[in-house]
Symmetry: C2
């Protein structure tokens, strides 16, 4: 049977697959930092070339930001169903660099005392390792049978970690080319090391950068301290007012569109054997800090947040400088669920800032991405087939789970192309994505590719 | 008369004096940044060499931080009174560099359309330009008369901008060598461009760096957002609570030891013709932000503050990173007046932090300098003589004023050596010390040296 041969091919070619992934991981495609623009393009070129080598007509498509990669493979013939695979070739900045045990862009295999192995690098999981599981599955099918079981369009972006600014216009301009039976997205996690999972719920996101400007220049705190307004004081008052004592977000209308989790879903979650204490302990914590009347699982999968991702102002170097800074700024992101409207929440946040802005201060806003939450029905046939394929590969029933993160493209596919997503990924909670020492289990990479090979067969 | 010849000598040697100052300004003696340790030493060596060239037995004295420079000149004979001149050869960091119109360590003369000239460089005023006014006065006396009118010990430190960590122990260890009739300190300002001033009141300072640590590592806000405590949220709540709506500091006992300004002093201040609106406008501001029931002059000279000099946490680079940081920190400094106890205030600040620290969070404290406020009596004979000398030089009666800044060494001299300070300086409010484009008026430098030449004569 073809599938068995494809799986054997993946096993036999595992070393080469790893070398191909390492080549991609060495490219510093950090999309948030303009200094790395050439490296982002290099990663896109590398992906397009690799896709062409396995029968895709892949090419770069320029955008105002980093290029998209689009490639079609119609070997399966005009009657075969067509699916869109989405991934992203960009990665998060690696800082703080001094916390990495090995350099972030020099990928390597690290073997644990128990013999298990992991791939250590920035992007090892998010999303280079994950997307290559799909590419390797395609390669194996092409090698063994000369074609893929279904028609596939691969669509990769390079701005996912920057809020995907070019994505909406690109989807609108290329809707007919990109619309397919469903999108396949590999950017999520397994339930645990042994249990594959399909994600059917995702949080959305609204992110905003706010700068409070006060004096026309940095001032000396001796000469001006007292009479001169301090923007750090103003900013801290503003953001300190965003949560009440119970951990609830105080913005007007913030919880509009947040639905209660159905009891049946809560019950399913309860059966997953999630251990909140162990989850928190993995991060060195012991007490949930979200809404006081919600379980950790609800806080993660079903409740919105308002988080401060960064703050800066004044002198932050070694030692002391008695400066009154001219400005201070923060980066805020809200994770959204259900039918929360990201635009209404951005407006409420700005209104909160304006309401607390003293005389002589000005707030400057910089909108980053916004997307609503997503909930997929678990009885979708694509989900059902993929679930069986995953169960076959891992020997354990695949879970259908929620996820605390956001994949804005899922909402964009739904809104702009009317297309649902199959969210299958092989990450683990301890992969440290976006943090120093990001890793991807070698087993995730190898059995991930085998899983996709099975899913492609199941979708035919 | 000798003094007239000394003043002529200063006028005739003005170009060389400027070149000597420029040589000192080119040395990047940034004491707060450990990377500039060699340059701090270089500045100390340069000062010692220059002092030796005019008859001081100057040498470097090592400390755990940057070296002290100590030099004695006893040419005036054993019966002449002895004074200690104090200054500092270190400077503030120059950042943000992109706001400098000319490079901070390439001093130059800038001529205004009205013909007045200023010296532009980091340290041009604070304190290299100021301390060199005294050195040039000594040089002129030495050149003209072969000696100084009084015995002088010059004592320079290189950690003033870092909170003077090595100073207290050094004073204790060298008390007999350093104790003198009074200390002469040139680190303050004139009342305005035409009016010399002696500062008889200074604010003290207590500075503290506070880091809030939460998770054991940076977290992904999708995977952990909600349950994981965010240290920026914790820190902002803590510092937002330090001021009430009226601009008063809320720390327990903060105002203990703050005395009401006597009516006579308020009246003297009122006669100085201070324009609060113009003062604020110079910084692009219009509304005083200190205690609502105090005038701007009181807020500056007679009332304590609690300021945030810096804050940092999470991702602060270009673009966005959806991280939950492991820690966030702030640098806080309180300007102190009257008999406020810096140690009690540090303790109250730490108690405030601990009282608002949620579970799973830890606060790490790093104490920087602390010194109480200073008030000198205007009828001190040294002050009276200097006042006359200044009035003679500038043709306008010297003002006795307060100052919003802190010169911790003044408190240390009082506490450890029982020595009062004569605070005479030639800075102006618009000198932008600690900010980009720091400058010193050429007239301040040149007439400052003439002023010290007169003061040395008056003290004999």
């Amino acid at each position: 049977m073809a599938l068995d041969k494809v799986l054997d091919q993946l096993d036999g070619d595992a070393d080469h697959a790893l070398e191909r992934l390492f080549t991609l991981l060495r490219i510093q495609s950090i999309s948030t930092d303009p200094a790395y623009r050439p490296q982002c393009r290099e990663a896109a070129e590398a992906m397009a070339a690799d896709l062409r080598s396995i029968g895709f007509d892949a090419e770069l498509r320029d955008t105002p930001g980093h290029p998209m990669v689009v490639g079609h493979n119609n070997d399966a013939g005009p009657d075969a169903p067509r699916f869109l695979f989405y991934g992203h070739y960009d990665v998060q900045p690696p800082d703080p660099l001094d916390l990495w045990e090995t350099p972030p862009f020099e990928p390597r295999i690290v073997e644990r005392p128990d013999g298990t192995k992991m791939i250590s690098a920035r992007g090892a999981q998010d999303d280079k390792g994950q997307l290559m599981t799909f590419v390797e599955a395609c390669r194996a099918w092409k090698t063994v049978t000369g074609k893929l079981p279904v028609r596939i369009t691969v669509f990769l972006e390079g701005e996912e970690e920057s809020g995907s600014p070019s994505l909406p216009a690109f989807l609108d301009a290329n809707a007919d080319e990109l619309r397919a039976a469903a999108a396949l997205v590999c950017d999520t996690s397994m339930w645990d090391r042994d249990t594959p999972a399909i994600c059917t719920g995702l949080r959305g996101m609204m992110s905003e950068e706010i700068t409070i400007k006060a004096a026309s220049k940095d001032l000396h705190s001796g000469l001006f301290g007292g009479p001169a307004i301090n923007p750090i004081r103003v900013l801290s008052k503003i953001i300190a007012g965003l949560h009440d004592e119970e951990g609830r977000v105080t913005l007007d209308g913030f919880y509009n569109g947040v639905h209660e989790t159905p009891d049946a879903v809560k019950e399913m979650w309860a059966n997953l054997g999630f251990d909140p204490a162990a989850f928190l302990a993995e991060a060195g914590l012991s007490k949930p800090a979200g809404e006081a009347d919600r379980t950790v699982m609800e806080q993660l999968w079903a409740r919105p947040t308002c988080e401060f991702n960064g703050i800066t102002g004044g002198y932050t170097g070694e030692g002391f400088k008695t400066v009154l800074p001219a400005e201070a700024s923060t980066k805020i992101s809200c994770r959204l669920v259900g039918d929360q409207d990201p635009h209404a929440i951005r407006a409420a946040l700005r209104a909160h800032v304006e309401a607390h802005l003293p005389e002589d201060c000005e707030a400057v806003y910089h909108a980053h991405g916004s997307s609503g939450g997503i909930a997929l029905s678990a009885d979708n046939p694509v989900i059902q087939r993929a679930k069986q394929a995953l169960t076959d590969e891992w020997g354990k029933e695949a879970a259908t789970i929620g996820m605390g993160g956001s994949i804005p493209v899922v909402g964009e596919f739904k809104d702009r192309l009317g297309m649902d997503c199959l969210l299958v990924g092989f990450g683990l909670d301890d992969d440290r994505i976006h943090s120093p020492n990001e890793k991807y289990e070698l087993s995730s990479f190898q059995r991930g590719a085998r899983s996709w090979a099975r899913i492609l067969a199941a979708l035919a």
